[in-house]
């Protein structure tokens, strides 16, 4: 046991875990800054400017503020579930980062069933929302939780089905191998990314991912004009911060997954000295994820919220048949090409 713990491989693993956990946490904190800044610019406001240069210390100030806020537990709430819900929400959101390949070697563990693991873990996130909404014993949280659970399971269908098209081409569930399978080129110069081979799946994935993470224009879990703040109306202090953290973590996860499956993961032009070459894949990966996140934030700033019946109709009557048709078509083409 002691030898195993002192093993250099294990120490490397610990280092990776610390780097990824710390990096992700820092990135999540600064995502709040990015979102506020971008939305402010869209609305012709300066956004946070007071705390530090360009408001860059704002996330730290927010964290401290959350820490010293009153920890309100409503009298008729179900105390245990009420306290547990933010943690239940946060753990699966963070856990999916343990299989995401940030670079060829910057991955904590490459599971053979990585993709399935991520879907299994992220679908647990709905429990945090439902438990939080129900245990608050208040009307707005309950309504937000009910709406969001129905929404999340509806869009999870098209999300998982859209990925099957990619699997038919890559023939593996391991995330690192999905990235490696996209390293070749089409016609000699276009990278063989799955977005060019599976444009329909990409579209379905991106739309379902927005709905899956409860972001505008599908943020029915929150919908502040109707439900105050949705499922976390009763939450305050770091419990509220954990819900927010989980939401942003889910956003990063689905963006990272989109990058891995459709945009070639860490692939990108390689140049410069050896040291730069080891860092470049991670830079490309982060840049690609950043594009998705920027897109998310712009969506929030520009697109109005749908109506709930429109949302359900869109998911069940459009995205689901579309992703099924995509599977049938893709499998036919692959079968003909293979035989």
């Amino acid at each position: 046991m002691i030898e195993y713990l002192m093993d250099s491989e294990f120490l490397l693993l610990l280092l990776k875990i610390i780097v990824i956990f710390g990096g992700v946490m820092g990135a999540l904190a600064y995502l709040t800054w990015l979102e506020r800044k971008v939305i402010a610019r869209v609305q012709m406001r300066p956004g946070p400017t007071r705390v530090g240069p360009f408001g860059l210390l704002q996330p730290i100030a927010d964290g401290l503020k959350f820490l010293f806020k009153e920890d309100v537990i409503p009298t008729n709430a179900n105390t245990f579930l009420y306290v547990a819900a933010p943690v239940v929400s946060l753990i699966p959101a963070l856990l999916s980062f343990s299989v995401i390949p940030f670079g060829p070697s910057l991955q904590i563990t490459d599971l053979g069933v990585g993709l399935l693991f991520i879907f299994a873990i992220t679908s647990l996130g709905v429990y945090g929302i439902v438990l939080g909404g129900w245990s608050s014993n208040s009307k707005y949280p309950l309504m937000g939780a009910m709406r969001s659970s129905a929404q999340m399971i509806s869009y999870e269908l098209s999300l998982t089905l859209s990925v099957v098209g990619v699997l038919l081409i890559a023939n593996t569930l391991s995330l690192a191998q999905i990235v490696v399978s996209q390293q070749r080129t089409l016609l000699g110069f276009i990278p063989r990314w799955n977005i060019f081979l599976q444009p329909v799946a990409f579209l379905v994935y991106v739309i379902s991912a927005v709905a899956e993470t409860n972001r505008l224009p599908f943020d029915f879990a929150e919908s502040e004009q109707e439900l105050v703040a949705g499922w976390h109306t009763e939450y305050s202090s770091l419990k509220f911060a954990m819900f927010m953290l989980a939401e942003y973590a889910n956003m990063v996860t689905v963006s990272a997954l989109a990058t891995i499956m459709f945009l070639g993961g860490w692939a990108g032009p390689m140049f410069g000295p050896a040291l730069l070459q080891t860092a470049l894949p991670t830079v490309w990966f982060v840049l690609k994820v950043g594009v998705f996140i920027f897109f998310y934030v712009l969506m929030r700033a520009t697109v109005p919220r749908l109506r709930y019946d429109q949302l359900m109709k869109f998911g069940w009557k459009f995205l689901l048949p579309l992703s099924l048709a995509n599977i049938v078509l893709t499998s036919l083409i692959v079968a003909i090409a293979a035989s």
Partner: protein, 119 residues
């Protein structure tokens, strides 16, 4: 095989630890000035009317059941897609039959109006 999962356990402990420490810290550092109105359910400043423990629309349960059916389909499709290159056209027609069966159920559900939210 199992050593692939050990890092996930470490990561889980780290994430859970972060959550628990946050809970404890906000319990320790947060101010506490409880009063009955603050601790009552939030209803935009109005006195709470009735309880939140009411029955909810049956549509939500319907969505949950339909989700189960179609999610099982997705579970079948995942392993099929991974070994698809070996199955070739045989695999295609086998899965086409399965998808057609599911599709029949889907059309039935649609015609019965289970997908209409406003009714």
């Amino acid at each position: 095989m199992l050593e692939n999962w050990a890092p996930i356990l470490i990561f889980f402990i780290l994430a859970a630890g972060f959550g628990l420490v946050s809970l404890i810290m906000s319990y320790l550092f947060g101010v506490r000035k409880p009063d009955p109105r603050k601790l009552s359910p939030y209803e935009c400043g109005v006195h709470p009317i009735g309880t939140a423990r009411e029955r909810c629309s049956v549509k939500f349960y319907l969505v949950a059941m339909l989700f189960l059916l179609f999610d099982i389909e997705a579970v079948f499709l995942f392993p099929w897609a991974v070994v698809y290159r070996e199955l070739k056209l045989f695999g295609f027609f086998e899965m086409l039959l399965f998808i057609l069966a599911i599709l029949a159920g889907y059309i039935y559900v649609w015609k019965k109006g289970a997908l209409e939210w406003e009714r």
